[in-house]
Each structure stands twice: as structure tokens, then as C-alpha cells.
Symmetry: C2
Subunit: 964 residues, 2 copies
């Protein structure tokens, strides 16, 4: 696996930073190895788990925490687990803490940096320079920490450094912590609480100790949390008011691991290393110290540039969008690799997650994907059914959501197999013989796959639609089908998709099985969904046990779901008759500046026809967040159905959401969701869940490589069918495919058809035939420029409250076939409450709303929709903000008389605006200047529409091309 030096260098510089602990307080980085995973935020709060074999903790909150899966939008608080260093200037007795908590004091300089293998804080405060670094051990669930300090004042000051490593409330049965002088270590021991005798044997051999050890003998120590904290609190702990720590153990008291190191500083950095992690008994400390303290020192002795190349950086892109490149080159494959490398650090990954995560691994470590396929199919039932989770450890059992019966696990098998074969051409896997969970009879992988497909096909109702049980891909959709009658349109479409893929594989890889029955089933499935679930403009989500269609236009909430539309396209229902309506419907109802919501409007109360999803907070998780996994399906469907421009636009929306201030995360992973409910809770929309376990990563990686850049294997060949819009510009791609190095240069130029040159010779078609291991391929790809598209138009309808903006705006949009945006709908709940009480918003309060309006309108225009926006627009400045986003803009100002306005406001119901605000509005109204290209009319009644259309005739007719 020799690589060019140049290439390695390019890969080693991945890093993302923030320069304040307050701008994105929960921004975090994650690290993992085969034994553990941790998530550390910029303030030093930390969540870590290690496997023994089930996920366990070695540092806790100060009360008994529930054992659950990872939580979205995890809350941090003063005593949250974390790793902190108090710094005390011995002369002045001034104290602060790094990285930030628990003192939470503004620091002179702060930089938090995530790199793939290391987390770094660089801090300057009160003339001290402090670098703090975190890595993980390679082969143990241990944290390696280094703090290095220098004095910038030239006074060679003395400091004390107190490492404050939380341990928390470990157990009500037994918890103790003490210092072991022979090993310079603090070791806490506990007994995991249990009551049942049957739990003892498995607990007996687990690690029930946590240690902290240091490269340097501490000058004092404390293992007793309360005695250290004292009365005031962690921001000003009693323990560091004295010269030394109290050397106090914890005897059935909340333990902690604190060491004091005194140092005399100079401008040269002094370093201390720490190793922290779980162990089985204190007696192990001697050997742990011996091995890991030196490994820890060594880990920090190499500089960033010396790091080994990362095995997952197989696809490297250079385009004009550096942010895009950075994420696609470094962070996305890292996230993909994490999932497949450690299977989300569970012992029973959900079958669907396990298979999809390994779609990503096909590009990075195909052997894992092969193993995944075989292991999964060995746990298949002889009936063809797949279990809800795949056990990947001998002691594992199905837990949490894997105890709920789901209906979709079979359909992911051909989808993974497709990518695996395309990436490897390893057709031997097809003939691999495998037994079943409940039968020792061995059958080939081909037969296993066919059994799986037949099993899903057998679970259909009289209409030919697939039963949903207690959830399909959507876990909490648990009340649609528990009686055994409810069906899922999505699952029916997903089954069709799986069959479509299988037929393709049988053909492309020359599998010797007939496909005509499957082809017939595929048509049946498509027809069933079209016949029973088409709602006129989109597909419904399913039919309940009580035979009620849902996810349809007559629903008040959950009117439209994203997945049935995406998968209708994937399943081959992509004729323009359906596609154009679905696209328009999705863009109108589900699109937000942070991506497409999974459903809308979000449920605000329990709908017992549908279940648990409707109880989740509106805009969170499956209840209408921008659930990126579903959004990725949509993007994939855009590319596969010939809508590459829209696909790339959507993809960039996903990445820009990740970068946004609102998300509050570092752009180093795609979260499982951004908050949705954009028109219901606009103020929180776009927030990241901060959870990096998501099927999104694998799909987006696949989309970029196979669809956007069109690099797709088939048999012995690599096809090149890029779908890059010319707006993306020329690109330089290096891609390692089947151990061949491909260097692809894409250029847009004066060509009518794509042209491919391989190692200086024109290719006869768009592929590398018979790709050879170890070979280097220099490709030059010429692409034609896209056709210029017309530029969409923006019409602003402004005026004081009651002027008739909404009525007129809506009517106008209808006439023009434009999208209508009701400005008031984007006000935050708090602002609405305020205005309802008759208080005008301040400019500061109005700013986020204007920003949302701008963002929303710009997005619709970018997607090519003429757009009508109604909003007050009293100030020229506000109007200018909106007009700045588009070349083709027209302003309509409604100005009825004050008496008419009063009358209208008093008679209207259900609107939050208080009539008392009218006077203040009229006072602040700045009538448009001539330069604003304005039509002023005196009312907003329906009959004004014709008049307006007439007046705007020229504007409407104008065709401005979209220039780059």
C-alpha cells in the first residue's frame, strides 16, 4: 500500500477549531479505538464508554444515572463528568481552569481543535500559555492527556496544576478511592449495583476500578470529591485554597481523582502526562503505568505533521469549495469508518444500521462489509426473516429498540451487497455457504438473499402492501400496525427497491437464477403503492390497522413524509407524472434552510393511530426534524433520478447546516438530525443533535463517490459517470479503488459530450476497463457546461399590519405558480407572545427573524422557484436586506387608510398581532424611495391581484439567465 508522499501530507492536516468556549458551547470532538469511544466538548465535559462487553462507564454523574443509549442534545451541567485542570499562580493565588469549566472564566485566548486522532486546546491566560491534548491509547480503553505550560511574562512564575478528573457517584453498594503511593496513582473501586444473584457471575469479571496516573509524582492528591469542593462550589473549590491538597481518600463517598503538580515555569513548555481509564484491580497499576505512561509520553512527542496517513482517506477531492473538500476528504470518511470499525460500540447493532454502516465500509475496508454480510446472514432465520439486531459478541443480547419487532431488516441485504460487489467484484461471496440461526442446513448467500426477499414479499396484505408491525425504518411508528393489519408505503417501496437492486445484480454479475418472478413482484409493489397510497401530489406514509391512510393532505399534522417520496423514485416510480409533483410538494412542505424535514407539520400531540413518533418533541428526532439519514435517501434519489443539480444543492444544504452557528457543532460529523419544525419552532430549527451515530454518513459518502463523481465499479471495470454541475467548477480527485490509484482531473470546457482520457489516451467509453491492483491511472475528464437556467423572481409584499399582505401575496403566488412565504410564520414563539401583549419588537429581537426570512426566500429562489414574500417591511433597511438576495426583485407596498386598517385588525381573530401596535407601525413606516422599484397600491384585496399582474407584466415576462 505505497502512497505518494505528497498525498500523505495533504491528508494529515485535517483539523477544525473554534476560538471561543462560548460561541458553540457544546461543540465537541469524538475519538475511538477498539475498546472505547469518547465525546469531549470544548469546555472539558466528557462522555466516555468502554466495552466489557456491554457499553460501560468509568466516570459518572454525581447521582445514579440511568443506563441508556446516547441522548440527543445532551445537557451539560456543573458536576457533569469531565476532565479539568485548575491552574493556580502560587504568588498571586489567582486560580482559573482549563479548558474552561468549572471556573468558566473568560480566557485571554482560547482555541479548541479537533483532529482525527487528537483533541487540542491552546489557551493563554494571565501570561500563561497552556496546551492541553487528549488522545486515546491504541489497544486499551485509556485516555492519554498532556498538559504543557509556559510562562509568557519572563518572571518564571510558580504554579500549581490540579488535574480534576471526575469519577462521580459510582455505586450505592460500595465506592472508594485512594492514592497508591507505590504506583503514583489514584484508584477508585466500586461494586456495580445489583440485587439478583443471577447478575453476579457476569458482573464479577468486569472492570470495577477507575484510575488516574501521572508521568510525575504528584505533590499532593485528593480522592474525596466533597472535601475538595467545599461549600462554595466547583468554581471556587476549598481544596485549592490551601498549599497542598488534603490527601484524603473516599470511603463510601463520592470519589474523584485530583493531583497537584507544582512547577516553576519558564518560557519553555513544561509537560505532564496523565493516563485515565478503567481497570480490574489496583494491583494492575504497576504494569499499566510501566506500559502506558511511556506510550502516553511518546504519543505526544510526535508533531501533527508526522502522523501516519489515515487508512480511511481513500478519496481526496480538490474543488473550489475548500469546506466541502475538507469534510469529504477527512471527516466524512472518518465518520463512516468509525461506524463500521466498531459498530457504534454496541454488541447488538440494529440489523438495518449494521448493514447500512457497512455500505460505507465497502469504500474503506471492504473486508468488514463482507464479514458483516456473512455474520448477518448466519443469524437469519430459515424462514428468511432477519432478526432485529445482529449479535456481534458471544455474550450480547438484544436490547432497547431491538426488542421491538420491525419489518424492514431484510431489504438492506441487497443494498449492501450491491455496493460490496461494485467495490470489490468479489463474486465468490455469492456462493458462500451459510447456515441459519435456527437451522444448521447451509445455503448459499444467493439463496439467503432470495429467502429474505421472499420473506418480505410474503408479509403483505390483500392490497399487496407490506405490513409494518411495530415500526419499519421509523422506529417509533409503533401504533400503525401492532394488530397485524397496518401497512407501510415506505416499506413496500423499499422492498421494490431491494428487488430492483437484486435484479440488477443478478444481471450485471451474471448470477444464475431467474429474475422474472421478482420482476413481476416489483411491478406489483409499484402498482400497489400507486393505487392505494398516491394522494394526488405525494405518496401517503401508510395505512393503519384501522384502515386509515395517513401522511396525506387531509391530515392536520404529519401531512407529508419525506421517505415515501424518496423511495418511490428509488423504486422506479419516477415518471414525470409523479416526480414533478413529489419534488414540488417536498420543496414546499418539507424544505428548510437546514435540509428537508422528515415530515411536516410536526405532530404536537399524540396520534394513537400512529404512535410514539407523534409524542416526540415537534422538530426533534423522527417527529419532523431534518433527520439526515432520511434526507440522505432523498439526495440519493435526486441523483439517481436525474436531478443532480437539486441533489448537490440539497447536499450542500446539509453541509452548510452542519457549519451553521445555529447547529452549534464543529463541522466534523453529520449529526443524526438538525432540529426541524421550521415553521412551528423557527427559533430552534437547525440545532444539531450532537449525535454522530447515523446511517447518514455511509449514504452521503456513497452519493459523493458513486453519484456526484460517478465513480462506480461494475464487474471488472470502473465506470465514470459524474453528475457535477458546472457551477462546481474544475475538480481534482484522487481515488484508491481496488488498490489502484486513480488521479482524476475534471474540467469543464467547450465540449458537447463528456470526454475521458486515460493515461493520455482517449477512452472508448466512460470507464476504466479491468482495473488492476497497484496500477496508477491518470484520468482527464472533459465535461460540457450546463445549460443556463432562467433566474427565479422575488416579489416582496409589504405594509403595516392589516394592510392585506397575506391575502394579496397568496393570491399573487397562486396566479404566478410561485412559492408563497408568510413572513409572520417565521417569528419565534417568544416574539409572538410579546407582540400579542402589545409590545413592539426591538431591532435586536427582529434581526433573527429577518435572517430566517432572508434564508428561506434565498433557498426557494436557489431551487428555481419564483417566490412571493409577505412581511411588514416598514423600514427601507429591512426591505433592502430581502431584496439583496436576488437580482430580479419587485416590491409591492400596500398602503390603505388608517381607518380601514383599524377596522380590519379589530375584526380578525386567531392572529397574534395586537391592534395597539398599529400606531407604532404607522409611525415607523418608511415609504419606499423611487430607487426601490416599487408598486404602491392602496389595499390588499383579491381584486388588486389582476391590477398588480398587469402592472408587473414586464417584470414577470423578463427572462434573466442565471449567471454564476
Amino acid at each position: 500500500m505505497k502512497r505518494e508522499v505528497m498525498w500523505v501530507k495533504a491528508m494529515s492536516n485535517a483539523q477544525q477549531s473554534i476560538n471561543s468556549p462560548s460561541s458553540k458551547p457544546n461543540a465537541s470532538a469524538f475519538l475511538w479505538n477498539q475498546h472505547m469511544m469518547l465525546n469531549v466538548n470544548c469546555r472539558g465535559y466528557l462522555i466516555a464508554q468502554f466495552m466489557q462487553p456491554e457499553p460501560s462507564k468509568y466516570a459518572f454523574a454525581p447521582n445514579i444515572e440511568a443506563k441508556t443509549f446516547m441522548q440527543p442534545e445532551h445537557p451539560y451541567f456543573a458536576h457533569h463528568p469531565g476532565r479539568f485542570f485548575y491552574i493556580k499562580d502560587e504568588a498571586s493565588k489567582t486560580v482559573f481552569s482549563v479548558p474552561f469549566a468549572p471556573c468558566n472564566e473568560a480566557l485571554d485566548k482560547f482555541k479548541f481543535t479537533a483532529t482525527p486522532k487528537q483533541v487540542i486546546w491552546q489557551i493563554e491566560h494571565l501570561g500563561f500559555a497552556i496546551d492541553l491534548c487528549l488522545q486515546l491509547a491504541n489497544d486499551a480503553p485509556f485516555e492519554y492527556w498532556q498538559i504543557s505550560l509556559a510562562d509568557l511574562t519572563g518572571q518564571n512564575r510558580r504554579v500549581s496544576v490540579y488535574s480534576y478528573f471526575t469519577l462521580g457517584y459510582m455505586s450505592w453498594m460500595n465506592q472508594t478511592a485512594n492514592y497508591y503511593p507505590d504506583e503514583d496513582s489514584i484508584v477508585a473501586q466500586y461494586v456495580t449495583p445489583y440485587q439478583k444473584l443471577s447478575d453476579y457471575p457476569k458482573l464479577k469479571d468486569t472492570a470495577q476500578c477507575t484510575f488516574l496516573t501521572s508521568s510525575h509524582k504528584p505533590d499532593s492528591w485528593c480522592a474525596n470529591q466533597l472535601s475538595f469542593e467545599g461549600v462554595k462550589g466547583l468554581h471556587s473549590p476549598a481544596g485549592i485554597q490551601t498549599v497542598s491538597l488534603n490527601n484524603k481518600p473516599a470511603f463510601y463517598e463520592t470519589p474523584v481523582a485530583i493531583m497537584q503538580h507544582r512547577m516553576k515555569l519558564s518560557p519553555k513548555h513544561q509537560r505532564r502526562q496523565f493516563v485515565f481509564g478503567p481497570c480490574h484491580r489496583s494491583a494492575e497499576m504497576a504494569s499499566i503505568r510501566k506500559k502506558h505512561v511511556s506510550l502516553c509520553e511518546k504519543a505526544f512527542s510526535s508533531t501533527l505533521a508526522e502522523h501516519a496517513p489515515l487508512t480511511y482517506e481513500n478519496f481526496q477531492l480538490q474543488s473550489r469549495d475548500a469546506k466541502f473538500d475538507d469534510f469529504i476528504n477527512h471527516w466524512l470518511p472518518r465518520q463512516v469508518y468509525y461506524h463500521g470499525d466498531v459498530n457504534r460500540l454496541t454488541t447488538d447493532p440494529q440489523t438495518r444500521n449494521y448493514l447500512q454502516d457497512n455500505i460505507g465500509m465497502c469504500f474503506l475496508r471492504p473486508s468488514s462489509a463482507r464479514e458483516c454480510l456473512l455474520r448477518s446472514l448466519e443469524q437469519q432465520f430459515a424462514s428468511g426473516e432477519m432478526p432485529d439486531g445482529i449479535l456481534i459478541h458471544p455474550e450480547a443480547e438484544l436490547k432497547y429498540i431491538n426488542q421491538i419487532p420491525h419489518s424492514d431488516h431484510c431489504i438492506w441485504l441487497p443494498l449492501l451487497l450491491e455496493v460490496y460487489l461494485d467495490q470489490t467484484n468479489d463474486t465468490s461471496v455469492l456462493h458462500q455457504m451459510l447456515a441459519f440461526q435456527d437451522s444448521s442446513e447451509e445455503k448459499s448467500l444467493i439463496e439467503h438473499i432470495e429467502l429474505a426477499l421472499h420473506w418480505v414479499l410474503s408479509k403483505r396484505d390483500h392490497r399487496g402492501l407490506c405490513f409494518i408491525e411495530q415500526g419499519d425504518w421509523c422506529d417509533p411508528m409503533n401504533m400503525v400496525g401492532p394488530k397485524g393489519k397496518g401497512v407501510s408505503s415506505w416499506l413496500t417501496l423499499a422492498t421494490a427497491t431491494a428487488i430492483k437492486v437484486w435484479i440488477r445484480l443478478v444481471n450485471d454479475y451474471k448470477v444464475d437464477v431467474p429474475t422474472s418472478d421478482f420482476a413481476h413482484s416489483l411491478r406489483e409493489l409499484q402498482q400497489a403503492v400507486i393505487q392505494h397510497c398516491w394522494d394526488g401530489n405525494w405518496f401517503a406514509r401508510g395505512i393503519t390497522d384501522d384502515n386509515e391512510l395517513f401522511g396525506i393532505s387531509s391530515d392536520k399534522e404529519g401531512r407529508i413524509y419525506l421517505n415515501p417520496q424518496s423511495w418511490a423514485l428509488l423504486a422506479g416510480i419516477d415518471s414525470d407524472e409523479y416526480k414533478s409533483k413529489m419534488l414540488m410538494s417536498v420543496d414546499q412542505h418539507l424544505q428548510t434552510p437546514f435540509g428537508n424535514q422528515m415530515l411536516a407539520p410536526c405532530y404536537t400531540q399524540m396520534d394513537e393511530r400512529i404512535g410514539r413518533v407523534t409524542q416526540k418533541f415537534p422538530g426533534s428526532a423522527e417527529n419532523g426534524s431534518v433527520y439526515n439519514h432520511a434526507f440522505a435517501f432523498w439526495i440519493y434519489a435526486m441523483f439517481t433520478s436525474g436531478e443532480a443539480d437539486k441533489g448537490l444543492l440539497n447536499l450542500k444544504e446539509m453541509l452548510s447546516a452542519m457549519h451553521s452557528e445555529q447547529a452549534g457543532q464543529l463541522p466534523i460529523y453529520l449529526p443524526n438530525y438538525f432540529r426541524g419544525a421550521y415553521t412551528q419552532f423557527p427559533e430552534t430549527a437547525g440545532r444539531s443533535s450532537h449525535l454522530f451515530n447515523t446511517g447518514t454518513a455511509a449514504w452521503i459518502y456513497r452519493i459523493v463517490i458513486e453519484q456526484l463523481f460517478g465513480l462506480r465499479g461494475c464487474g471488472k471495470d470502473l465506470w465514470l459517470q459524474p453528475q457535477i454541475p458546472s457551477s462546481m467548477g474544475n475538480c481534482d480527485v484522487r481515488y484508491r479503488f481496488r488498490n489502484a490509484d486513480i488521479h482524476l482531473k475534471i474540467e469543464f470546457g467547450n465540449t458537447l459530450t463528456p470526454k475521458l482520457e486515460i493515461n493520455g489516451r482517449m477512452a472508448k467509453d466512460l470507464r476504466i476497463e479491468n482495473v488492476k491492483e497497484g496500477e496508477q491511472y491518470a484520468l482527464k475528464f472533459q465535461l460540457p457546461y450546463d445549460k443556463q437556467q432562467r433566474q427565479a423572481k422575488l416579489i416582496l409584499v409589504c405594509g403595516v399590519s392589516g394592510a392585506g399582505k397575506s391575502t394579496l401575496g397568496q393570491a399573487l403566488a397562486e396566479k404566478l405558480g410561485a412559492v408563497f412565504i408568510e413572513g409572520d410564520a417565521l417569528h419565534a414563539k417568544e416574539a409572538i407572545a410579546k407582540m400579542a401583549e402589545g409590545v413592539a419588537l426591538s431591532e435586536d429581537e427582529r434581526a433573527p427573524w429577518l435572517a430566517r426570512l432572508q434564508l428561506t426566500a434565498a433557498q426557494k429562489l436557489a431551487h428555481g422557484y419564483d417566490t412571493v414574500v409577505s412581511f411588514s417591511g416598514l423600514k427601507a433597511e429591512h426591505r433592502a436586506l430581502l431584496m439583496s438576495i436576488n437580482v430580479n426583485t419587485k416590491l409591492v407596498m400596500l398602503a390603505p387608510s388608517e381607518s380601514i386598517l383599524q377596522e380590519r385588525l379589530l375584526s380578525r381573530k386567531g392572529h397574534f398581532f395586537s391592534p395597539h401596535l398599529l400606531a407604532s407601525q404607522l409611525a415607523s413606516l418608511e415609504m419606499p424611495s423611487p430607487s426601490e422599484n416599487t408598486l404602491v397600491i392602496d389595499g390588499g384585496q383579491q381584486d388588486n391581484v389582476q391590477q398588480l399582474l398587469h402592472q408587473m407584466h414586464d417584470f414577470i415576462a423578463k427572462q434573466t439567465p442565471n449567471d454564476e
Copy 2:
């Protein structure tokens, strides 16, 4: 139920206070009603649960807490649930919080007071007077709060009061909080997290809202925790830096309930009331407000003195020990009543707890005890077996420890029945017909009891000892008998006791059943224990599945258990042959200044013969704490076996432990344990568990009434057989018995036998015959003075390290039949670690050790034991401390030459003392002055003992009477 006014007045003044939030930081009070229970500590931290029907919370920690039973020594931390009020002086912007947290600032004056129905803080700070009061609603799970403020400076300052009521992390599914202006309330709503469809129906109807409402419309509010707290932390929250709160709701964010009330203060108190609690939906707020805000105002408008008499104050004592009286009169019956009134707020009380708690209710509300008996026996199996828990709610199920099979539940039935019959003479209960859990055939209560006894008797091994299963009274003793072979000596003795009681009831209440078979079984049981479990000086605890006796002198840990000794006496094995040895053994091995440990030495590692108890932290809970329930059995056995003096001494030790600084609690309840492991972890011994759920209360109440004051019903009569030592002095007792009012005056005087006068007439024997409801009985009881006892002697053996103190002291004690106390054994672990490193202790560090030594020696002397104490005693001041505790004291100073000392110290192993300290010891040695009554000898070898005994002949021979 008419009462004398005088009496009522006496009862209404119960209160206990502390004057600092730091002396006992976790000191707490508890309140309950039929719907809820709460425990609030002096700093404002609070734990509350309400029943729906299972115990639920309405305020949480900021992370997902596990659902468990109450934890001992509960840890508090910055973001722990609590109710706090920030006070901001509007002029100076100074902020502090009451009662103490979260600002945790030293307050000018602080008083925290628990009364039976109210918790009160009285605070003065910066010229403000602030009273804070908490009560519970009568018929709803609501907290009533009142804050009242006055300005003491005469400046009529303006303040803002911010009520900070925590809500915490309510759910990962859905959590939201908002202000409802029409109801002046903040309501938080959440969806209890669940995944299984089957959990939905029962969750559906639970209260999933928490509200805060106030008597006065707030000037501003905040329902969004993070936005209020800001960056710095709760000690300096961002939310109160601004003029008003931000009126911000929480949308899937950690909620909180904060209201701002602005006030202009004067010297006259201004009041604001708050109601806080769970509800089902925000729509209920109008009716909740209407009813409860006025009830809340009313609740605080009456003064303490106007409170209604408390129904549980049926026994009122006036003796010379006011602390004793206060606890027995007010707090103990309150604790007893709490247990029986709400059954520990569980829906499935453990059978043994339920029956024993109702032993207490026999004195306070006998109807509850009757109900308990009948309900329990209806859930008996037809085999006679009792279930592990009694379900007291239709939706209840057996949880936690009730899922572990225990073997003792039957034996508590006759014990409860005895007290019930003695208190009520309600013999009708005996003939009550009842069915079974698994059979509809009805049998009389007599038959049920006999079935229960036969069932326990049937579960014995070939030796006649009772099988222990996975635990008898000791829950975590789960590995003695899981194979079905292990037996419990305690259970065998308890069975004997139960049979003994049953035979007594059959005789005294003339039940028409034969008892000869039971009498035979009783003798069998006694003999089996004597034959198989007597270890020479005490009874073993049991025999394991593998036929190993444990709880015996050859065990290194868990050598002696308290319960087998107590119950041997109760079971009638009380001949002097056994009793004197058991008493001496218990006092020598289990006695601590905080009460008797349940076992000793505490286990420091898992013993797989015995089980989970050995994994608990040494000195906590069942692993050798002063487990008060067991200690109460011991005290009961002292009284019933004619050791009333010792019984009272032990009882007062229990109460004084509750008062001690070390316990850290208010003396308003007996905790389930004080930390034990007195010689293993002396520094933490005596700490209260702060848990008030314990069988202790009922037993101690029974002991005081039936044993100490000898007020015991039998048939129609009330017997008076007090066992009060004359040291207790004259007593005045008012007792409500079967609705008769008894006024008993006890006087010690010149009489040889007890004399009883009833309503002015001499009684023919010591009873009121045929006690009549509504009657008043004035009793005068003359008792003779106790015989004077000899006063025990104290010998101190002092000298530098290596002088031979221990060797000589131990030998001396043996010769004299005295108790030996090794001073070094009472050093804290930290002190030992320090000395082992060659660092001398400071006077401050030595002080707690000296106090322990003093306490320990004084206790042995009080129990009548001659006592030899070895300790360095280098300083005259330290020796004086020890000598001050006893009249008869002798000091022996060992003074060998320095060279001998060096040699000895270097050759001895396994002792912590560092030889380097010798010089420092010799330097600080102050040789005794003549006034110290000293023998100075030059060595500590065995052959010195004879010489010493000779020299001390007069001292040893002297018989000093114990004067009061």
C-alpha cells in the same frame, strides 16, 4: 376524642433547629401526605416523590436518573433538584440566595427548623429578614411555599425575588415548559421515556406535567434553564444580571420554573406564596390555582401554636432528660406514623416491613394494623407461605428486592398480632375468615397463622435448622442458601420466637387450639441452634450450602453477628450460661459509641460463601453498620431478658448517635443506619444514612411504652411493669390507651417494692383492670431505688512507640478480666498513612482520635467494664483528657531506654509507625507529675505484669460505689 387543652399545647411545640447551613450540611426534614413524600435539606436541596400509583418524580436531576429506591447518604451537587430563591437588592445589585444554595454564601443569620408539619428557614442577610416556609397540601401532591421579606435597615429598599424551582432533565422524548399568563403559572410538560408499546397504556394516564404558580403575578419569568444559568454557573446566573428575566420557554431543552417578583420592602414582612407540584395538563391550572393558592395562603396564616394536635402524640413523657422526651413524645411517633400511614410510599411493601411498621401503628392507629394483618393474610398462599411483598394497590407488582426469595416473612405475623391484641383486645380478628392468594377457600385468621408457622417449620433441614433461601431478614445474604441447603440460625431463632409468642397469645387470649405440638417444636428449634450453632461465646449466623458454619470466632471477617444473639434471648435461650457470654461478646466486638454494629469485623472483600452483603462498603448498611433495626432487636432483648439497665443505656446510645455531630442529621428520626466499622474506618463511623425508612422506629416505640414504662395491655387490663432505672429519675407520663386517658406519675422513693395508686386508691396488683374508653386514670407509681453498683476502673498504659504498651496492656486486661482498648486502632486511615510516611500528626489532627478514645473508654466504663487503654499519652494534657472520664483511674507510664526502643521498632513488622518518629516522640514526652497517680516502670514485657498487679493491689481491690 376530647383532650385537655393543656396537653394539646404541650404537644404542639415540637421543633428542631440548626443555626448554620455548614455544620450539618445534609441535615434534612421530611414531610408527607397521602400522595407524596419529600425530604428537604437545610441548603434547599430536595427529593420528592408522588404516587401514581408507583413512586414518580416531578423534578429531576439535569441528566437521566436511574429509577431506584431511596439511596443512603444521598449526595447533593450544584444542579441537584431543589427550591431556591435568589434575592437581588435592586439598588446595589447584590445577589444572594436562600436558604443557602446555589450562591452558598455565608449568611449573617441562618436558622433551619423542622416541625412536624412545616419546614422553616429564618435568615438575615445584608439587612434583609427573610422567612421561608414549606408545607404540603393536605389532599394533593403539592408543595406550598411562602417567602416573606422585610427590610431591617429602614431604607425601604427594593428587591427582586427569583424563585428558582428546578425541573431538570425530564425526558429525551419530549420536554417543554412555558408560562401561561391566564393562570400566572409555569407549566412543564414531558413524555416519560419508553420504547415498548405495552408501556404506553399505563403511562398514558400518569401526570406528566409539573407546575409552579404564585399568589402574585410575576414581573417576569423564565422556563429555560440554560438561558437563565448562562456561562458562569448557578452561583452567578446570567438571568438575574438583567432587569427582568427573559420570559423564555423551553422547547426540548432543560426546563426550569423561575419567577421574578419585585417588591418594595419595609420593616413589615411582605409575603409571596407558591404552589409547586405535578399535574396532568396545563388546562388544570385554573382550578388548581383557584383552590390551592388560597389554601396555601391559609396554611401559612396560622401560627405554630394554633396547629391542631397531632394524632400520633398518644404517649407524652416528662423526665429529667428533655432531649429524650422531645424525641419520644413528638418525633418517634411521627416516624412510626409515617411508616404505617403511607406504607413507606410504596405499592409493594416488603412483607416483613409492612408487618413490623404496623407493630408501631398498634399504638397510634390500631385499625391500620388490623387492615395490614388481614390484607397480608389474604395474600398468603394456601401452603402457608407468605409472599415477599404485599400488594396494596391494584396495579402494583413486586419490584426490586421483592423479586428475591426470602424465607422469613411468616414469622412476623404472630409478632404483629401480639401487639395488636395487647393494644386493642380485639379478639374478633382471630375469627375473621379469609381466603388465600391461590385459593378461595376461607379459613380463620387463627388457621392462617398456624399455617404460616407450619410452613416455616416445614422448611428445615435434617438438623432442624431453617433454610435461608436467598436471604432472611438480611436481604443481601444471598449466597448462603441458593442451592437449597444453607440455613440461618437467626431464622431458626426467629421461628422459635414467633412460636413462643403464639403460645402466649393462645394462652392469654384463650384461643381454642392446642399448643403442645408448637411447644415441642419450640424446644426442637432451641436445641438445634444450641447444638449446631453455639460457637463457645456466641451463636453463629448460619451454615452455608457447603456446610460451613459462619459468623464464628475462626472467621477473619464477619466473625460475630448481632441478630443471632438478640434472638436467642428472645427465643428463650436466656440462661446465664449463654446470656453472660453473649453480652460480653457483643459488647467487646460489636459495641461502638454510636450503637452496636450488626456484624464485625466488617467484610472488606467478597465472600462467595455469604454473598452480596460482603460486597457492600465496610460499615455501611448490612455490612457492619450500626443497623438500627437490628440494634433495636438487641435493645428489646435486653429489656425482655432482665437487662433493662443495659437496654436503656443502649437506647440512649442510639439517640445520642442521632444527636451527634458525626451523624450530621437533625434528631427528628432514627436513620436506618449509622456508619459502623468503628475500628476499621473510625473517621466515618457514626455518620447517618439520612434514610428514615426503617423498622427501627416501631420497635423503639414499642420498647419505650411496653418495656421501659411497662405499659402493656393484656385482655381487658393494662399492666404496669416499668423497668426504669432510678438514674432516670421521676417521670410524668400521659398515655392514651384504648381511648382512656392515663396520667402516670412515677416516683422513686423509700419503698422496697413497687406500689401503684389508681385515682387515689392503692391497686391490688400492678394493673388497671378493665380499662374503660373515655375514662381518666390518675396513677401514682412508687418505685424503689436501684441497688448501687461498683464503679468500673480505668487503667491507662502510656509511653512512646515501642515501649511495650500493647503487650502489657493486653496482658493486664486479661489478668483483671477487663476490656482492653488499643489506642492505635482508633486512628483514621489518613493519619496512619501520614505516620507511615514519617510525619508526626499535628494537635488538630490528633484531636478527633483522642475524642474517639475518650468516647470508647467511657462507654466501656458505663457498661460496667474495667478498662485498660494503651495509648502514647506523651502529653499531660492528653492523659488528663482520658483520666477525666472516670473517678477510679490509674496511669502506668512505660519508660525503657532509647536503645531498647530503637531495637524493638526496627524489628517489628506490620505496624504503621515509622521509626523515624521516635526522636520526635521522646522530645515531646512529658513525664507524669506526682498528682497523676502514676506507676512508672521501665518496660512493657510480660514479666512486668505481676509486678504491676502487685503495685496496684489497693487500687484494684477498692470498691467505689457508682454515685449518680
